[in-house]
Amino acid sequence: MADAKQIVRRLIEEPWTGNMHVIDELIGPGYIGFDPSAPEPIRGPAGAKTQIQQYIDGFPDGRITVDDQIAEGDKVASRWTARGTQTGEVAGIAPTGKGVTVSGITISRLDNGMVVEEWTTWDTLGMLVQLGAVPAPTQA
């Protein structure tokens, strides 16, 4: 069986290089994902594809790099950085052409070589600030 860290790394990085098949390959059918930017839990490979695709549509040149990983038991924690230029609509924000860099942490639980559960926390507010979507009040 492939190394758990490698499985998770591929799942985080490869959809952004055009390989969406990796989701079907590495996400279990009963997958459930939790992300503060998603109003409901993300369910199954189809739900994961929809969630990722909305950001790829917003940042078509986007890339995610896994910077660090820790594995224990059936879980892998990954610290990652995402970079991209917003040339598509994302979160209701019209394309700005601005470059954005955000970081996040994903904890993945694996079962039989597939990811079945994930908890992600990422810098959503940082993305909104960088895109200018959060109003910039005057400094005191």
Partner: protein, 103 residues
């Protein structure tokens, strides 16, 4: 449902009034400031510790400005066709044709 609330939020350049040294002045800075911010001139994502050394790539500046003008660029042909079809445009074409030097 279409309507004002469904329209994408157009924030491009909205912080330009508060731009300082090419970077937007971030509100609530004591509370929250992103470590990376896009350069107001070229749109590149620049880390806070690299802001002083950041130099815009002229090609990126051009691409960034063209991107922000994309609606105007895309609408130019349509606007031109509309103008040429208007009474004023037709007259201008007639005048230009009349004044064109014969070869």
């Amino acid at each position: 449902m279409e309507g004002p609330l469904r329209r994408p939020l157009d924030v491009a350049g909205s912080e330009s009034e508060t731009a300082k040294d090419g970077f937007p002045e971030i509100a609530m800075s004591s509370f929250f400031a992103s470590r990376h911010m896009p350069c107001a001139d070229c749109g590149a994502s620049v880390a806070a510790e690299e802001r002083d050394e950041h130099t815009c790539d002229p090609e990126r500046v051009l691409e960034f400005r063209l991107f922000q003008l994309r609606d105007g660029v895309a609408g130019f042909d349509t606007d031109l066709r509309g103008y040429l079809d208007s009474p004023e445009g037709r007259f201008e074409q007639w005048l230009a044709e009349r004044d064109r030097p014969s070869s």
